[in-house]
Symmetry: C2
Subunit: 358 residues, 2 copies
């Protein structure tokens, strides 16, 4: 299934990650973003592409970020302000800064607090799009910490039995260090399917899986059909019988922690400009010996990966493994970008006077 | 659906919660549990019954706890030991104490740390059955804190594409205070369906929902059939197409936080005696004004509950609401216990010399 959403290599141009990153940083710079922030934003976007998370990479997101800066929705030179803090927590006002740039700064605060007192937890209000949630969670890993990231998004998902969207796709990311294995990296929307995938399915003419969507009245569509014009996303679990109340409940948890707890409102607040974020870092050494923990994580991941597969399947994977495998290939061969995307980047660079390396 | 799993009132005896609690505490006492701990254990079990969480109440769990004490698997007089701690964290060895009694003590530590530094997080190793996870999470609510609880259980759930169980039902509970609304209380297994429900479905002759179980080879059963003799639980999401990798990944997160991070091993460790737990408390005041937060939670819950329902449904509910509604009825009318359960309690009290109030 996933492969169907990947770029068709025959129509793609392979771009080295560093060239893409330099070009994207140049575009951010022309939006008025200071050089260090522009580099950081480019790093977040390009890491998504390198890891095969194309929905959150350059091709899918950069255009909307440029529009956000140009329309004034996103502040290129935000002044992050700590609204409240304790030794293990902070709540920050991100001053309408882009989430892909501001959330790593919030995570830096969380990591420092975790170094000081064991756990650090930071909520980010007055925020804009987060990007790939696992980027921020993974920042904790190199400090021998477990990283967590969530974001409360504008409504697109119905509650169980509901007819109107009340929740965003509200993803949860958790990253955990291992010793020789790549880190465990979970990153998933609490909806049945990511919103971006429906658009891509439409473009590619792929039929819906039963349980992916509700119709415009909120009733789950349980047949394989073309995506209808009007539809609403379902929570993970799809129907009450299959546990949609669990996906709905988890999405609520994200809306509370990354929304209500910021004091800046939640996904469905009318007129709320955009997003709220939540990051946390837990120092492994605050619970148990970090070296022993990482060895046990290796053992745990090998146990999971060596699970005998069910009929018709080759192998069992563990969260973060598919992305680590794609990253190895793309760091070597480059990132496949669709012709159309490359043309848009080249045109944009031309218009803005950016040195284009794509 | 849920109603089908509730006790049939025609065959039930209504027992006042306080009488059931006194009786259960008496039974714990005869197991060698000190009086205060016996009261606490009875409170956890009976609150599950009062809230309609019959799977984790007296009728479904007490018998196995008695057997655990009698066989020596559970230690009636455990000495909880703090293995490691920081201002915001602790890892404790629960000395084979019953989880329903030891986990509230771990949560007390977490709450105290959250009072001191904003967040408290405690892992519990060498542990036994947790009981209703939301009991422990809800302890935080009266301190104006958000409570979290997870438990890493023995394997019964396949990873996505796997043929052998590697994970427990690994539940997640999150409780959040509101002002006038009952608290938000999410409490759900990360499996497609709770293990206990399959047993109850078998007893009551209810057919499986498609996607509830895998067959003995790990292939999801996508038809409405009688529960097969040999089966394995599926992660939330049921199939890869519907997002089972998300349920699988969340279950892994629980296995890591409540298992690996304790240093005492995880669900699938061969010969591991039993369970690992994780509790956390986040002080709302460490992020934002608690009164304003609780007012916004009221507004948020009313928004969610007032969602127009989809065709064929009466209303949209929010996590914790069904349980709060049952609790109101059962505190007034008593807890419906099946004749068989009442007889077992009476027999047990007779054998042990406990003053039976049931």
């Amino acid at each position: 299934m996933l492969q169907q959403f990947r770029v068709n290599l025959d129509e793609a141009i392979l771009v080295p990650g560093d060239d893409l990153k330099a070009t994207v940083a140049g575009i951010f710079g022309k939006m008025g973003v200071p050089p260090e922030d522009a580099q950081l934003g480019a790093d977040v976007l390009v890491l998504a592409d390198l890891r095969g998370v194309d929905t959150h990479g350059v091709s899918n997101m950069l255009r909307s970020y440029v529009q956000g800066y140009q329309s004034g929705q996103i502040n290129p030179r935000p002044k992050m302000k700590i609204v409240r803090q304790t030794p293990s927590t902070a709540n920050v006002d991100s001053d309408r800064g882009l989430g892909i740039i501001m959330t790593p700064k919030a995570m830096d605060i969380a990591i420092q607090k975790a170094k000081n007192v064991g756990v650090g937890m930071v909520t980010v209000g007055n925020a804009r799009h987060l990007g790939m949630a696992s980027y921020h969670a993974m920042m904790a890993v190199k400090h021998d910490m477990i990283g967590v990231c969530m974001t409360s998004c504008p409504p697109s998902v119905v509650p169980t039995f509901g007819a109107v969207p009340r929740l965003g796709t509200n993803p949860i990311a958790v990253a955990v260090p291992a010793k020789n294995e790549p880190p465990f990296v979970f990153d998933a929307a609490t909806s049945s399917v990511a919103a971006n995938k429906i658009g891509i399915a439409k473009r590619l003419g792929i039929k819906l899986e039963p349980g992916w969507l509700a119709d415009e009245h909120g009733t789950p569509i349980m047949e394989a059909v073309d995506p209808p014009e009007k539809h609403i996303l379902l929570p993970l679990g799809s129907t009450r019988e299959l546990g949609s109340h669990k996906g709905y409940g988890l999405s609520c948890v994200v809306d509370i922690l990354a929304g209500v707890l910021t004091g800046f409102g939640y996904g469905a607040v009318p007129g709320r400009p955009n997003f709220g974020h939540y990051v946390a870092a837990y120092s492994v050494d605050a619970f148990t010996d970090a070296e022993q923990f990482k060895e046990m994580m290796d053992e745990w991941m090998q146990m999971m990966k060596s699970t005998p597969p069910a009929p018709g399947h080759d192998r069992v994977m563990v969260a973060g493994q598919p992305e680590a495998e794609v990253e190895e290939v793309r760091r070597r061969d480059g990132i496949p970008l669709h012709n159309e995307v490359v043309e848009w980047i080249r045109d944009t660079c031309g218009e803005l006077g950016v040195d284009c390396r794509v």
